[in-house]
Subunit: 305 residues, 4 copies
């Protein structure tokens, strides 16, 4: 969960939601491909946004790459019968983006603050993960293969207010020292739409670029900054307070035929408001995080055997 | 932290904020007294709202009794030098409402869900509290007095989604069995104003009446339902999402000379919106809850010696 | 997990281990029945000790009733394929002791201190439990039946150092107020043998009698003290430090033909030793408690549909 | 807290306790200096063991360097009036070993497993620490100095079973990337004597050498392995189960004039016993860890201003 970026834009970490801000009839933004699949039986919707070139990246404000969004109304529900198909779907797309990593070393980084419930997702995924890298040292080369285990290490580094360090510094150091072939980053995200909170998993090969377009390159977690392939799993667990106010208002104003100028004036006022460092999250966030962290860690366990 | 009540009213648990909804020039609502004090040196503001009779109770939508609100911009700051004066002020008003309880048995109930950060305040206060009732059994009658300790028991009962029981059922049962003379209830509240979140402590002798006016009497925690005197300490740690949207909008619309009808129409639409079960809280909520829980438990430790 | 009782006896909460202290050739202690079953396929051993009368109770130092001990070397292992058969076995015996409680209200009490890892088992079982009692209020009489759910409430009351109250006081009060038909008490126990730690579940209809024979009746949790049927699930997660020293020593001394007097002298010296308030637990206790709490809560979920 | 080393030696991480195993009249082991101070007013005992050369290192089985042990019976007590003098004493010796680090970057590493209570000390110290390194980036060069803050970063890396990585790998990577001048390592230790558990802080400039003498150099955390100065704060919170059995037995056997051969035979048998991966800890370990972690983090806050 990252500090809010530019308030003049509604804040979202989901490529899908950025895509939605374009006019509906603009079926093909230059340089951006959109593919939607719906698994009716499992009630899972998968949308793939592919940003092909710089033109697409500029239009979207996101780096070139693939953004797969898996949506299921049942993602945060406790019933285990719902979770198995979602787990398989997530594992399928992780493997698709990861390429051939069979038997290779993988570092899982669970970002976020374990003391703030909606931001505890990353650390909780690490808590549930089957970590195995040290077993190879202990029991010899073939142990992992014989037991159908991947070679997994994991870290929950905490957030800058706790460590005083950029997450990228911590991960870069650990990667240089332990030489994984791929890092999988798990993080809680901000969605624009309340309806996507705890219902959506975004998987991307572009890494995580908090406040992209704002230009704080130091903070990015991607192949360029970390030196190895990065897959990021992001799950929206909050909406920024300013975004929710802005969107509710905009929705109303559009219905009322306000001028664009009036709408913008309001938006700027919201930007000044004291809600700048606040987030919105559901009241059952504890159970949602617990449930989703199981699903994600199980998907990771299945992905890298 | 209680489920949202009636959305047609902005939601607040603070008597002070209800009082503020009345016109500023209405200096004396019938049956309601207002007293403000400001300790300049300590930068602490204390407002006492006294609801004297049924007329006042009806106007305020709150039971007859005393509501003391202690406001300090430094309540959630880590520096210990800020906390000592606040602690003393809180202890002073607890003792004022508690009357003569020297040496008497007191039960502290830390309400809320310890798994949801802004709702974990009550349980964390109990974690930090000096509990002593069992020491009397163990070391004899005079042990507590000799060591200048009150006779304190404590419980963090959890919320209904965790227990399947009303908090009032749990507390009533424990009170009947252990016979305390006073119960002090600690709970995280919803404020209307973002600026009061984590900056305010409300102390009242009326108990806690979640969704008052909605008529769910079973849920009330007060002298009538629990059978003994109740003092409630409430600390606003969230704002309801619907309230923040509504208030921001209203603020804007008033500046723009919208008709009352237009404003009401918008408010009703917000009521339909999916943000109904969501709350707003600051990003540093973990540190705020940690800090405030120390201050409150220390104030309780000092209050009942 | 209860404070140590009489040090002159090796400390165990397991009826099975008390039975084992009798000579091996004493196949039938008066008033005590012993039945052993072994499920080879599942590698689960079930021992039923039935104390039939006062003579048996006196010999065993335990109340009249049934003590079922389920042993599996895989109880604390992470692999889910091991857990399903154990879950079913546990649910079977809970139902056997509970009698006909279909559709009746059941209170689950998770005893212990959630801040001390081996004692956190009870609270963690409650965390994982499907609590449903409030859903009946919310969705009407038939909701639970239609969804094949039992009527479950739950509480994790904490320990006396946290609450200042006896657990029996808290439970008695809640039971009187909420009227369940059965209370299921979950607690971490002390075993005598290191090999039983985290490998054993004891299910009994006699309640939990900490320090039985020491005579602190107030503390007992059973039908007499709580007023309704009690089933206790106890899982040994620790060995008392004095017991482990005493038993290791005794084992050695027996091999060396020490006189009984010499052995007893040593045992008394251990009783004076500063290890009185210490316990022994395995280094992987965090993972064991996590795993066992899932298994127990799942067994409870299955038991009362 | 580290896996047990060689069982034929009683296990302790305290230089002081190794020194005590030498005969009492051997007032000066070659290459080892011993200095004892007792602050009567504060009831704090400080013992400095200085290993001067290879001969001393070999005799002690510990690296050359300074080992300061601060003992206070009140270290784990809740009363704040006890903690202030201990805090000052600890800060004094940290500064003494750290040399001139005023204004320099310091990394604090809180080792251990936060899910196992006696091993959670390191992570809890990090939780309470005032971390400041990022404030310099945010507010400019002079901010820390103006506010009398040190330049502190911190990490609680977790244990190998959680990360799959050696702690030395993680720290080495982070140190290379963030360039601190000193790393302060906090870890829970194993004492030999029950009486030192939660009553003792060892401060050393030699780093932490788990299983020293066993030769697992990869695991050592010291200047050689990490590349910068290391100060280690170790607090014994457990005794190894095998050690407690062995020592109790030895104590008894010495009183009984057993031959050395008989004693050794017993010791070897204990080594075979199933208590190998178990530890002993007091029942109030949760409160002890909470209290000591405050004291240590406060001492660190004061040390590097």
């Amino acid at each position: 969960m990252n500090p809010m970026g530019n308030l003049s834009m509604p804040r979202t970490d989901l490529a899908l939601e950025i895509r939605e801000t374009f006019p509906e009839n603009d079926t093909q933004i230059q340089g951006v491909l959109l593919k939607e699949e719906y698994n009716k039986k499992r009630d899972i919707k998968v949308t793939t946004v592919t940003i092909k070139d710089d033109r697409g990246a500029k239009a979207m404000g996101k780096p070139i790459g693939t953004y797969i969004t898996i949506e299921s109304a049942k993602l945060d529900e406790k019933d285990e019968s719902f979770q198995e198909p979602i787990t398989k779907e997530v594992a399928k797309y992780i493997r698709q983006l990861a390429g051939d990593v069979k038997g290779k070393e993988i570092l899982v980084a669970g970002l976020g603050n374990r003391e703030v419930t909606p931001d505890a997702l990353g650390p909780q995924v690490v808590d549930n993960l089957l970590v195995t890298r040290h077993l190879k040292e202990e029991y010899g080369e073939e142990f992992l293969e014989r037991n159908k285990m991947g070679n997994i290490s994991a870290i929950a580094p905490g957030v800058m207010a706790q460590t005083g360090m950029e997450t990228s510094e911590i991960l870069k150091g650990i990667i240089k020292e332990t030489n994984p072939k791929l890092v999988v980053v798990i993080d809680a995200l901000a969605a624009r739409s309340v309806d996507r909170v705890n219902k959506t998993i975004q998987i991307t090969d572009t890494g995580i670029s908090p406040g992209s377009g704002v230009g704080n390159n130091r903070k990015e977690l991607n192949k360029k900054s970390l030196g190895i392939d990065v897959i990021a799993l992001g799950i929206p667990t909050v909406v920024d307070a300013a975004t929710i106010v802005r969107d509710t208002m905009e929705h109303y104003m559009q219905g009322q035929d306000f001028s664009e100028q009036e709408t913008n004036q309001f938006i700027n006022e919201v930007g000044e408001h004291s809600i700048r460092n606040m987030f919105v999250t559901p009241k059952n966030i504890d159970e949602a995080i617990k449930q989703i962290s199981y699903t994600v860690s199980e998907a990771l366990n299945q992905s890298f055997v």
